[in-house]
Structure formats: C-alpha cells, structure tokens
C-alpha cells in the first residue's frame, strides 16, 4: 500500500514537473532541435540577452511588476485599514467586493478593462492602450491580494496600540507609522510579494490591456510562438519559472516565520 501511494505520488509529480524539466534541460541544448540533445551550451541564453524584443518586454514586465507592487501595496494596506474600521455589516460587503475580482474569470476582467480604456481613449484621448494602461490594470488586480494579506494582521492588532501612541504625543500619522505599521508589516510584505508574483505571472489581462507600444514578457512570448518557436523561449521560460519559484519560496518562508509568533500572542 505504501509503495502504491509512493508510485502514485511519483506519477503525479512527474506529470506536473516533467514538462518544465524538459523545458529547462533543452534551454541548455546546443542546437535548434527541441527533440535531440546535442550537448550543453549557454548559446540560447546569450541569444536571449541580445534579443531586443525580449529584453524590452522583460523591462516592461519587471518595471510594471515593481511599480504595481508598490502602488497596490500602499492602496491595499490603506483599503484594509479602512475596511477594518467600518461596522461589521459594511465590512462584509466591502470584503465581498474585494474578493470578487479574484474569483472572476481573468478574461472578463481583461476585456472589461480593455473596453474601459478604449472608451476613455475614444472619448477623451487619454489612456492610449500601452504601458500606462498595462500598469493600471496590474495595480487593479493586485490590490485584492494585498488587502487579503493585511486584514488578518489588523484583526490581531491591539486597538489600544494606536491610542497609546497618540496618548504619548504622536500625531495620528506618526502613531500609525510608529505603532501600527510594525505590527502589520509581515502581512504587508507577504501581500507585496504576492502582488509582485501575480504581476510577473499575468498573461490574460495583460493581453487585453497592453498596446502595440508596450508588451510584457508573456504577451511577447505568445506573439513569438505564433510565428515560430525558437529555443530562446525555453531559456526565457526557465528564467521566469526560476524567478516565480524564488518568490513563492520567499512568501512561504515569511508565512512560516510569522506563524509561531502569532500563536504566542494569542495564547
């Protein structure tokens, strides 16, 4: 029985990770073939970093991920504090609104945003589809994840901490920075990491909201594949997989580290 379950597990992991493993191995292949192994080489990595189309897409992806993370973390944290401070009935409604975009099919969000941007562009001439619309859409879908990570920390927060800081002479904003922020920081960081990962990862929404002028990696790769699949895509996918993997490990380590502390506080 035990062997059976091990075999079963093995098969599952094989199905999950074999394709990625093949992709990673063939990103080091010294030939254009995607079937025959011709020896180890980094030539496709070199080629990748000389491909302007990919490099500019990489820049778009990273810069958007960073800016979207910062903006959505600030807005999301502020939103969480606001949602926390209203009565429980209104809070439930607001949280439902917050969670909706996460369960909504991405294609709906993508098309909706595209229609909105096009409508605004047509009527006012502002928001031409491109870098800025891509950034706005990424900020939009990242915010709910930040809210969801910060809320539990606010729930654990001793409401008197803020009052104590004000009582000791802090103005409201200083009191927030000095007394409240350090307590909810783990939630904010986890939220920021999730936002960053989501932004890096996104394809569907980006496809609809990026214009000709600025495309992120996933959209660029999609366009490249439609023309011709080159091994450069293997290398690029390997790098992206590695980056997302590191992010996820970081998020998990953060959550594990903050967990025992919470237990101690609540006991």
């Amino acid at each position: 029985m035990k062997t059976l379950s091990r075999v079963y597990n093995g098969i599952i992991f094989a199905f999950l990770y074999a394709p990625i493993l093949v992709l990673i191995i063939f990103s080091f292949n010294d030939s254009k073939s995607r079937v025959v192994w011709n020896g180890f080489s980094l030539r496709w990595y070199e080629a990748l970093f000389q491909n302007d189309e990919i490099l500019s897409a990489l820049w778009v992806t990273l810069s958007i991920a960073i800016v979207a993370t910062i903006v959505s973390t600030i807005i999301g944290t502020a939103a969480a504090i606001g949602i926390r401070s209203v009565n429980s009935k209104l809070r439930r409604v607001l949280l439902a609104f917050n969670n909706l975009p996460m369960v909504n099919p991405e294609i709906v969000t993508g098309i909706a945003l595209m229609l909105l941007f096009v409508f605004i562009y047509r009527t006012t001439g502002l928001l031409q589809p491109g870098y800025f619309t891509l950034l706005l859409s990424h900020i939009t879908f990242c915010i709910p994840y930040v809210v969801l990570q910060v809320m539990p920390k606010l729930r654990q927060l001793d409401p008197h901490l803020y009052e104590a800081a004000v009582d000791l002479g802090c103005r409201p904003f200083t009191a927030f920075i000095r007394a409240v922020l350090p307590q909810i920081m783990p939630g904010i960081i986890t939220g920021a990491l999730m936002a960053f990962t989501m932004s890096l990862d996104d394809f569907v929404i980006s496809l609809f909201t990026s214009g000709e002028s600025a495309q992120n990696l996933s959209v660029t790769i999609y366009a490249m594949v439609k023309r011709r699949v080159t091994p450069e895509i293997n290398t690029l996918s390997t790098l992206m997989f590695g980056a997302v993997l590191i992010m996820l490990i970081l998020v998990n380590v953060m959550q594990i580290r903050s967990a025992p502390k919470d237990k101690r506080r609540s006991s």
Binding site: S88, H160, E163, D167, L168, G169, R171, R178, Q183, R265
Partner: protein, 383 residues
C-alpha cells in the same frame, strides 16, 4: 494641607452611542494631586469618562476644562495627560527601554535626557536592568510596570488608569495597589483611576466617584462613601448592606419592623419614608430574650475572618457578619445602636437591593474581576 487647586473640570457631559445614553449630564471636579477613583459596574460609563479626559471620546455636549481652559479642541497628543490602558498596550516590536522612551523620542528630547529618564523610571517601578528585555518575555506584572513607566516618562500632570490591575492575580494586585499609591504620593501628580473593584477603590483613593447608568451616584472620601451612602445602589455596591424600608418620624428617630430606633440622622421631613442601611459587621448578636429584634438563622458560611450568617427577621433576611458561630435554626437576638443605623432618602434604587432572601455565594462572583474581564474581551472580539 495640600493645595486644592482644581485641575480638571467636567461640565454637563452627555455621551450616547448607538442611541444609548452612556453618560447623562455628568459634572465632576478633580483637584490637583488627588487620587480619584471612578467606581461602578461594567457599562456604568466610568471608562467613557476617562476616555473623554484622555481625548479619545468626544462628548455629544458639555465641556472639559483643564486648568480652567477648555480642552474640547485639543487632540489627545496635545493633552498633558497620559493613559495606562487595561491590557497595557505596550509596543511589542520595541524592548522595555524603547517603550519607556517612546513619548520622549516623539517630543525630540535629547539622548542623554532620555537615557537618564528611562533609568529613573525603571527604578521607580522596580525594573532596574530590564532595559533590553523584549516585551513578550515579561510577566503580566512586569508589563504593567513598563506601562506605568512609559506613561510617567512623559511627565504628565494627570495619569489616567483604566482598570490597570484587572488582569493580575489577587496577590500581585494587592502589591501593585500599594505601589501605585506610593508612586502617586511621591510624584504628587493627579491619578484618575477606573475600577469596578470596590475594595481597590476604598483602599487607594482620596476621593471615590461611584457611578451607575451614566450618572454619578455619590462623590466622597472612602469613609464617606462607606459610612454615609447616599442611596441603595451605593450602599449595596460598596460592601454588604441590609437595606430596609423605614419611616423617619423626627430627627434622630426612625421606625422599622414596627419598632422605633434612635439614630444619628437628621434633615428629613416628618414621617418621611426612607431606606435604612445596616452594615452586616455592625450588628451585635445577643441572646434572643435581650435583643431589639429576634430572628432565626437560615444559613451560615465560613469566610475565614468571620461567619456570614443569614438571619430571617419576620420574612426579611439579613446578613450578619460575626466571629461567633450560630448554627442554622438557632434563634438569636440583635442589638442596634444609633451609630449602626444609617438613613437614606428613597431613590430609584429603593427595593432593588439589600434583601438577602435569595442570597447565595454565586452572587459574589458577579463582582469578580476575572468574570468581568472575560465579558469585556468577548465584547471586543465580536467577530
């Protein structure tokens, strides 16, 4: 004789929350250097009163004066008062000395001054050498001391204490009571202390303010409050009381249980109906044939210092505290001297308290801080 300069004045304060009246028309004057206790059951408005002085609650109407100046527009961070919160509210991300230094750093005091004050404060609360300790490594009593040091480091004119000892066990609570009183005396600053523990209030305060249902029931020294309660609520809340219906025939003469007793009270109308208070420890038990009244013992509980004896007098049950043991069903007499009898005007609280017919030890539990605290916590974590 200390100065009796007025430091805080609350005038006609009214607060309501969710349509419920929390405070109605509250007036309170507090003298500089006084130890004032706001005493009352949970929900009586005592904490709200404290939070109004601290600036955390804005009254619907009425004004708050500090040194004669209206504080209405002054936010909490500008008020010369500091608060000790019920569950301490220490900053968990800072160590002991950074907690104590918090207020001074906000004010931008010099480093040497901060260090000197932190050490002085830690010495004051008996925590020398705890500078670098993390908050979560401290016991409840030690955290309480850090909270006191942190509030006092700001050099407040008035210290507000919101049930600061409620979370400590009995022994530690007694020690901290004495320590707080000493700190207050040695610093000479005003303490406004909120508690529901009548013993705590009596043993620490210069002035006790008894509150119920958003109103002040009585203000006075601990002796006044205990010996001369103004109404049945105060008599019952502070200590144990037998409260009977009586008729005040004339000055110094009251009638109850169909018998006239000499007393020390004056100033009532002729034949005015009154509440008569007799403290259980003031009653002398004598053989049945020598007593003013005779009754039957219905229950006896040993309390260590005395026996709590419930005695039935013509269907009305009294509590008598006596060091002598009288078994159940024995018939005893009691003697009431004029100084044992206290007369109060009738109030809305008449007939609500002071009858021990349904007496059981369980009623005592209602006053326990543990019970109260859990109720409190339950209310706060509603979701």
């Amino acid at each position: 004789m200390q100065t009796t300069k007025e430091i805080i004045k609350l005038k006609d304060i009214t607060v309501s929350s969710d349509g419920e009246q929390v405070l109605s028309g509250l007036d309170l004057n507090i003298s500089d250097g006084e130890f004032v206790t706001l005493l009352g059951p949970s929900g009586c408005g005592k904490t709200t009163t404290l939070r109004i002085i601290g600036g955390f609650v804005t009254p619907d109407s009425g004004s708050v004066f500090f040194d004669g100046k209206d504080m209405a527009k002054l936010p909490p961070y500008k008020r010369p008062v500091n608060t000790i919160f019920q569950r301490y509210a220490l900053f968990p991300h800072l160590n002991v000395q950074d907690n104590v230094a918090f207020g001074m750093r906000v004010q931008g005091k010099k480093k040497t001054e901060i260090r000197e004050t932190v050490d002085r404060m830690l010495k004051l609360v008996n925590l020398v050498g705890f500078n670098e300790r993390r908050i979560d490594t401290l016991s409840g009593g030690q955290q309480q001391r850090v909270a006191i040091a942190r509030a006092l480091a700001n050099n407040p004119r008035v210290l507000l204490l919101d049930e600061p000892l409620a979370a400590l066990d009995l022994k530690l609570r007694k020690d901290m009571q004495a320590e707080l009183k000493n700190i207050q005396k040695s610093l000479g600053i005003t303490f406004i202390y909120v508690t529901h523990d009548q013993e705590e209030a009596l043993s620490m305060s210069d002035t006790v303010v008894v509150m119920d249902a958003g109103r002040i029931q009585q203000i006075g020294t601990p002796q006044d409050i205990y010996n001369e309660p103004k109404n049945a609520f105060v008599a019952d809340f502070i200590g144990e009381s037998n409260i009977l219906d009586g008729i005040m025939h004339e000055d110094y003469l009251v009638e109850f249980f169909g018998r006239k007793f000499p007393c020390l009270d004056t100033g009532f109308d002729k034949d005015e109906p009154v509440d008569v208070v007799i403290r259980p420890e003031d009653i002398d038990i004598v053989p049945a044939n020598q007593g003013h009244l005779t009754g039957t013992v219905t229950a006896v509980t040993f309390k260590g210092v005395h026996f709590e004896t419930i005695v039935d007098f013509k269907g009305f049950k009294w509590m008598i505290q006596t060091t002598d043991y009288y078994p159940v069903d024995s018939i005893i007499g009691i003697v009431l001297n004029p100084e044992d009898i206290h007369i109060m005007k009738k109030s809305e609280y008449s007939d609500m308290f002071g009858d021990y017919s349904s007496y059981s030890d369980e009623f005592d539990e209602l006053g326990n801080p543990e019970v109260d605290l859990t109720e409190d916590t339950a209310a706060e974590v509603e979701e």
